[in-house]
Amino acid sequence: MAEPAKQIEKKIMDKGLEIGAQNLTAEQIKRVINRVLKSESGARLKAYVDTCIHCGLCSEACHYYLSHDKDPQYSPVGKVKQTLWKMLKTKGDVSADFIKKASQIASTQCNACKRCAMYCPFGIDIAYMMLTVRRICHLLGVTPLYIQDTAHSHAVTMNQMWVKDDEWIDTLQWQEEEAQAEIPTLRIPLEKEGADIMYSVIGPEPKFQAQLIYQAAVIMDVAGVNWTMPATPGWDNSDMAMYTGDNEIMGRVKRAHFETAARLRVKRIVMGECGHAFRSVYDMGNRWLGWRMPPIPIVHAIDFYYELIKDKKITIAKKFKEPVTLHDPCNVVRGGGLAEKARYVVNAICEKLIEMHPNREHNYCCCAGGGVINCGPPYKMTRMEGNRIKAEQLFAAKSRGAKVLIAPCHNCHSGLEDINHHYGLGYEIKFISDILYDVMEKPV
C-alpha cells in the first residue's frame, strides 16, 4: 500500500445529519448500537470482525481509495475502522458527532459495491458492515436528507419518486398511446392475470424517463411476449430504504412487489435495466421477508434481452455503428453473474465493443450506486473526487476508440453522466434498450 496524500477536510452541510444528530442522547446511541450489534447482526458480523487481520488488501479494490491517491481513510478497512470498529470497541459509547460522521462515511463514501470482498483473502463482506452502520444511523434518525426523503416516498407510495397511484396508470396509458403511433395495435396490458411476465420498473421511469417504458412496450410487442404491468402499487422494484438501513420499509416495499406478481399469476418478473433493484428483489428484500430466493423468479433486462435475441424473438435489422464500451454494473455482474450475457447482447446489437479495463466482476463501480447518488447534490463532489479512477478507466477506453458508453443500470447511468461531464470525457451514454429499440426489426 502506498503512502497517503495530504487530506483536506471539506465540510458538507446536510440537514438530515445535522438535525438528526441534535437530539441524540448518549444512552440512546448506546442502546441502538448494542441492539443492532447483538440482536440484528449477530454471528455474521462477529465472524467478519474476528476474521479480519487488518492486512489492508481490500484497499486496492476501492475506487475511493484509488481516486484519493491511496489515502487509507478511504480504504474499506479504514472506513470500518472509523465507524463500526469504534462502536464495537467502545460498546456503543460514542458521541452524536461520531454518529453523524459515521453516517456520512457509510452512506456517501461506500457504494456497497462489494469489489473489496473479492480482494479480501477471507472474502469479508465490508459492504455488509457499512450497511450495518447505516442501519444503526437509521435507527438513530441520522441519515442524509435526500435519500431519507426517498425512503419516505417508498414508505408512502411504495415507489421511489412520490408517484401517486393514478399517475402511474395514467403514464402507462399515455406511453401506450404514444407507442400506438408507431405500432397501432401495441398494448401495455394492465392487470392481465395469468400473463407470462410482469414487467417492473423503477420510480424514475414514469416520472422522468417514460420513453424507457415506451421502448420496453415495443420490445415486448415485437417479441410477442405475453406480458402485463400492474395498475396497483407494487410496480416499482427499486429500493432506497434498503440503503438507508430501513429494513422494515424495504420489506414492505418488496412484499408489495412480490404479492402483486403473485396476484397477477405471472411466471416471471422481468425488470428493467436497474442494478440496485436487482439486489433488493434478488437478495436483500426477499430474504428479509423470509424467502430464500425470489418467490416469483426475477429476470434482469440483460438476461431477458439475451433470451429474446438468442431465441430469435427479436432480430437485429442493422447493428449500431458507433464503437461502444460496456460498464458492468456491480449488482448485476458482480452480484448477478450477467457479464457474459451482457456481452452477448452488446455484440449482437453493436458492430464494435471495446472493453474497458478492468471489466466484468472486476469493473470499477460508477460511484453512484449503493444509494450514494440518492444522497443528493451535497455529495456530488464526493462522487466526482471519489471516482477519478473511473474517469481514467473510461478515458483509456475512449482513447482506444469507444464513443458510446453502455450502462445497463439506472444509477450507473446517472452517475456516469456526472463523471462524463465532470471529467469532460465526451461519451454518449445509453441503456441497452436505447440501442436495441433502434436496431431491432420492427413492423413497418
Binding site: K15, L145, D166, I169, T185, K192, A231, L289, G290, R292
Partner: protein, 421 residues
C-alpha cells in the same frame, strides 16, 4: 339478478359466443371476462384510433369511449369498466356511466353481493373515494390503500392531511397521514398509514401505522395500541367479537396479536395474511415457521408440510373447519388442503374454491400452456385455451366450467363425479 340457486345447473354444455368472429369486426379485442353465472363473455374492443367499446356476447354497448380499461363482472353479474370521454373518467355499468366525472378513476372494488361498486377518484389533483356514484365530501392531497367494508357500504383509505415539501423530512416524520372512513378522517396523524380493515358492523377502522421511523403499531379509530412493535402487517377484525387481530414483529420474530396482546405462543420467521373463519372462530395465517419454509398455522400450530418458494391464497371452507392454499416448490405449483399436498403439480394454480358442503376443493390450473380444473387432486380430462375459476352448484354436486377453446366460449355444467371418477 338471479341467485346462484336459480342459475342453469342442468348438466351439459352451451356455446355462448364465438369470439374469434369478433376479431373480424374490431381492430383488436382485449382479454375476455365472463359473468359469474357463465352466461356472458365480454371484452374491451378497439374500433379505431381512440375509439373503444365493450362487446358482450357479440353485442356492443351503445356508447363508444375514448378509452376503456379494467373491465370486470361484478359478483351480481353486472358488467363494469373504467371509461374516458372527452378527457374525463368515470365508471360505466352495463354501458351506463355514472353522473359524476373525474380527472381519473382506478382501483374498482365490488362488495361480495355485487350491489356496491367503489373506486378511487382524482379530481383537480385531490383524492377521494366514490361509492355507487357518491363521492366523498372531503378530498385529500394524496390517498393510498383504498378499502371497501365487508358489506360494501363504506369506503376508507389512508390520506395525507398535512402538507410537506420536497426534502422536508423532519416535518414528514412528525406525521402527515391518517385514515378516512367515508371521507371523515381520524383525529390522529401518523408518519404512515397503510393497509386497513373496516369492521363488519362498519363502525371501526383499523390500520397499520408507523409512529416514527421505527415504532409500528395498529390504530383503531385513530387510537394506537399501547404496545409498539418493530413492524406490523395488515389487521383483520374478528367477525363476532370485533377484536382486532394483526401480525406484529418483536425482537426480529413475528407473532400474532389481538388488541395489542400476543395471543399465539409461538414466534415465526414470517407471519402474514391472518384470517378468521366466519363460522368456527378459527384463526389462521400464512407463516414461515423456519427460514424459507412456508406453511399455514391454525390457531398457532403450523402444519408439518412446508413450501420453499411461496404459499399464497389461503382460504377457509364455508364451515371454517378446512383450509386450502396454493403453494410453490422448485417452480412447480401445488395445492395443499388441510396440511396434505396434492400429488399433481402445475405450471400455475389459482386460488382454491371449496364446495358449499365443504367436501370438495376445486382449482383452476395451467399445464403446458393449456388450462383446466382440478378437483380433489383429480384433473378434468379436457384442457382449454382459457378457463375461469370453477363454481360449485349450491348442493356441491355439480360444477360450472367456463371455457374458451378455439375462440368458442362454452358454458358447461358437469357433475363433480365426472372429474373425480
Amino acid at each position: 339478478m338471479l341467485t346462484r340457486i336459480e342459475w342453469d345447473w342442468e348438466p351439459g354444455s352451451r356455446e355462448i359466443a364465438n369470439i374469434s368472429q369478433w376479431q373480424k369486426k374490431f381492430n383488436w379485442i382485449e382479454e375476455p371476462y365472463v359473468s359469474p353465472n357463465g352466461e356472458k363473455i365480454a371484452a374491451i374492443v378497439n374500433l379505431a384510433e381512440g375509439e373503444f367499446n365493450v362487446c358482450v356476447n357479440g353485442d356492443t354497448w351503445e356508447t363508444v369511449f375514448d378509452k376503456i380499461w379494467y373491465l370486470r363482472f361484478a359478483p351480481d353479474g353486472r358488467l363494469a369498466a373504467l371509461v374516458s370521454e372527452a378527457g374525463e373518467w368515470t365508471v360505466a355499468v352495463d354501458g351506463i356511466t355514472w353522473d359524476n366525472k373525474f380527472g381519473y378513476v382506478w382501483n374498482m372494488m365490488f362488495s361480495p353481493d355485487g350491489k356496491n361498486i367503489a373506486v378511487a377518484v382524482q379530481q383537480d389533483m385531490t383524492y377521494g373515494m366514490a361509492l355507487n356514484n357518491i363521492v366523498w365530501k372531503e378530498t385529500f392531497s394524496n390517498m393510498t390503500n383504498p378499502t371497501l367494508s365487508p358489506d360494501g357500504t363504506r369506503t376508507a383509505a389512508a390520506v395525507q392531511v398535512v402538507g410537506f415539501g420536497e426534502g422536508e423530512i423532519h416535518k414528514f416524520q412528525k406525521g402527515a397521514f391518517t385514515a378516512a372512513l367515508d371521507g371523515k378522517t381520524w383525529d390522529t396523524q401518523f408518519v404512515n398509514v397503510w393497509k386497513m380493515a373496516i369492521s363488519p358492523d362498519g363502525q371501526k377502522t383499523a390500520a397499520e401505522v408507523r409512529l416514527n421511523l421505527y415504532d409500528y403499531t395498529i390504530a383503531v379509530n385513530g387510537k394506537p395500541w399501547e404496545q409498539t412493535f418493530g413492524c406490523v402487517w395488515e389487521p383483520v377484525f374478528h367477525p363476532q367479537s370485533m377484536a382486532v387481530i394483526a401480525p406484529v414483529r418483536k425482537n426480529g420474530k413475528w407473532f400474532l396479536a389481538q388488541d395489542g396482546q400476543i395471543i399465539w405462543d409461538r414466534k415465526f420467521v414470517q407471519l402474514w395474511h391472518p384470517m378468521v373463519s366466519e363460522n368456527s372462530n378459527k384463526l389462521a395465517a400464512i407463516v414461515a415457521a423456519k427460514y424459507g419454509k412456508w406453511t399455514i398455522a391454525v390457531d398457532g400450530k403450523p402444519w408439518s408440510v412446508s413450501f420453499g418458494d411461496l404459499l399464497t391464497d389461503a382460504v377457509f371452507s364455508p364451515d371454517g373447519n378446512r383450509i386450502a392454499a396454493a403453494g410453490k416448490n422448485d417452480e412447480r405449483w401445488l395445492m395443499v388442503v388441510d396440511g396434505v399436498v396434492w400429488q399433481n403439480t402445475f405450471d400455475m394454480a389459482w386460488q382454491p374454491v371449496f364446495s358449499p358442503n365443504n367436501d370438495d376443493v376445486a382449482v383452476k390450473i395451467e399445464r403446458d400452456g393449456k388450462y383446466s380444473i382440478a378437483v380433489n387432486d383429480r384433473i378434468w380430462d379436457q384442457a382449454c385455451d382459457a378457463i375461469w375459476d370453477p363454481v360449485f352448484s349450491p348442493e356441491g354436486d355439480k360444477i360450472l366450467l367456463r371455457t374458451l377453446q378455439d375462440g368458442i366460449y362454452t358454458r358447461r355444467v358437469i357433475s363433480v363425479e365426472e372429474i373425480l371418477r
